[in-house]
């Protein structure tokens, strides 16, 4: 299951970038996920305070 950003919920707090172990999230605006690098550990989903990062079904 890939990780997806719901932009309408994102506050651009960039916590996902700080906690990503794979260096797979970039951008000092709405974050962009590099699905090639992402190993689906879901740390970004866990650390997102606004529930904007979700597991895609």
């Amino acid at each position: 299951m890939a990780v997806k950003l719901i932009e309408e919920l994102c506050s651009i707090c960039s916590q996902c970038i700080l906690v990503c172990k794979d260096d797979a999230i970039k951008g000092w605006d709405f974050p962009v996920i590099d699905h090639e690098k992402c190993t689906e550990c879901y740390r970004c989903v866990l650390y997102c305070p606004t529930q904007a990062m979700v597991k895609e079904d």
Binding site: S11, I12, S14, Q15, L18, W28, D29, Y47, P49, T50
Partner: protein, 439 residues
């Protein structure tokens, strides 16, 4: 479904929730704090990134927290905080002024705008403080414009606090109450300070669950009955638990309280209050790492006459523990417009340009942008409301369901001390109304 019973459940381990929980557990209540994130402290916390303690929001620690929370709870504070000697220097037109504590605002106004404008503003403030504060029908900027046309003078006030969106009355009450507030830095990172308060709860028989998301506030007959919680989020033991409680405190914002409780369970007047009063306070904060100090002062810099930035500080000048050996963190804050359309990359560019003008060695020593945050939404803002636009009560229309945090500041309060104070007031109210179960 598993079931558990507590006297009080608190949703959210931020300044308001943890403070309420600590005071209640000290008073003998069985308290549970649920936090969806894997750490406590919310926007007043920190995360480790490449060896740096990166703030999740707050720039520095407001010292009033000592009297409001830490001292009354018997928790350590002084040994965990370092205080810059020149506490809040002003950066005026790119130059740093270490102005002594007393009469600081007047001195800064004089430097920026001259004696006459400084006198005009100070006279107006004196009248407001000693006769009557204005209302929140106008912004602080519009109030100031009645006394000075000098943008330099208004810029000095704006360096202290946002002037265009805040209510004149609420903000002046904050100035009156808190005066020149002093700041400090948490030696081991912001998060360690809130861990201390979480430990108070644990030491008094309470529990703090991280990775535990409240999914529903249970309400019957306009009275709160408990909370449904998903614990161990994204872990093997992920499970739903029903927590029965006599009172629930929501520290996740009044909108979330409505969402979790279901709007049909609240009085129309309360719903209107939330939707028509609160005005989200957004802002930009970014942190950069450098191989040498780039700021001339270890204080919490108030910046006027800049494009966009208002606060500028380097905690590592006093607390090298916050960064790898020899490295520094510089934290920069800026007010951004209250409403979209926002142009984020432009704000960041303007802010970096502002810092360059104050720190000529910026390009020589800065190595990396560690963190850029915009805090634009009600769920994770700078504050859930501008001063003058918070809810007047911590009580919701549902019996024993309270809000705590930065949308329900007592008037004249702000920041972490305000959020903590709201939690403390809720704890006091619960102690008057509900008895702890025998343990």
């Amino acid at each position: 479904m598993d079931r558990a019973k507590f006297d009080v459940v608190i949703i959210g381990a931020g300044a308001g929730g943890l403070s309420a929980g600590a005071f209640l557990s000290r008073a003998g209540y069985k308290v549970l704090v649920t936090e969806q994130l894997p750490f406590v402290g919310g926007r007043g916390s920190s995360l480790e990134y490449k060896g740096f303690q990166v703030s999740t929001g707050v720039g520095a620690w407001l010292l009033p927290l000592k009297d409001i929370v830490f001292d009354p709870l018997g928790a350590p504070f002084d040994s965990l905080i370092r205080i810059p000697e020149v506490n809040t220097p002003y950066y005026i037109k790119g130059k740093c002024y270490d102005i002594p504590y007393r009469g600081k605002l007047r001195a800064a106004l004089k430097i920026a705008a001259g004696d006459k404008e400084a006198d005009n503003v100070m006279r107006a403030l004196k009248k407001a403080f000693t006769w009557e504060l204005p209302s929140d029908k106008i912004s602080l900027r519009d109030w100031l414009l009645q006394y000075t046309k000098s943008e330099e003078a208004i810029g000095v006030v704006n360096a202290n606090w946002q002037v265009t969106e805040t209510g004149a009355g609420g903000t002046l009450e904050l100035f009156k109450k808190m005066g020149s507030i002093n700041f400090g830095y948490a030696i081991n990172g912001n998060r360690s300070m809130w861990e201390v308060i979480a430990d108070v709860i644990r030491a008094n028989g309470g529990e703090v669950w991280t990775r535990a998301r409240a999914t529903k506030i249970l309400i019957e007959d306009e009275t709160v009955k408990g909370v449904l919680v998903t614990k161990n989020l994204l872990k093997k033991g992920e499970a739903q638990v029903q927590i029965d409680a006599q009172a629930v405190i929501c520290n996740a914002g009044p909108y979330t309280t409505l969402k979790l409780g279901g709007e049909q369970n609240f009085c129309q007047s309360h719903i209107k209050d939330v939707k028509e009063t609160l005005k989200t306070f957004p802002w930009l904060a970014f942190q950069v790492s450098s191989s040498a100090p780039i700021l001339p002062s270890s204080g919490i810099g108030f910046v006027s006459g800049s494009r966009i930035i208002n606060w500028l500080l380097s905690p590592t000048l006093l607390c090298p523990e916050l960064a790898p050996k020899g490295k520094h963190i510089t934290y920069v804050g800026a007010w951004i417009p209250a409403n979209p359309p926002w142009n984020f990359s432009k704000y960041l560019e303007m802010a970096i340009q502002d810092v360059r003008e104050i720190a000529p060695d910026y390009d020589k020593y800065v190595e990396e942008i560690l963190h850029v945050a915009y805090f634009i939404r009600q769920d994770w803002p700078m504050y859930r409301s501008y001063d003058g636009y918070s809810l007047s009560s911590t009580k919701t229309s549902v019996i024993n369901l309270y809000n705590a945090g930065d949308a329900v500041f007592p008037r004249g309060w702000s920041g972490q001390p305000g959020a903590a104070m709201s939690g403390r007031r809720v704890a006091e109210d619960i102690q008057k109304r509900i008895r702890p179960s025998a343990r």
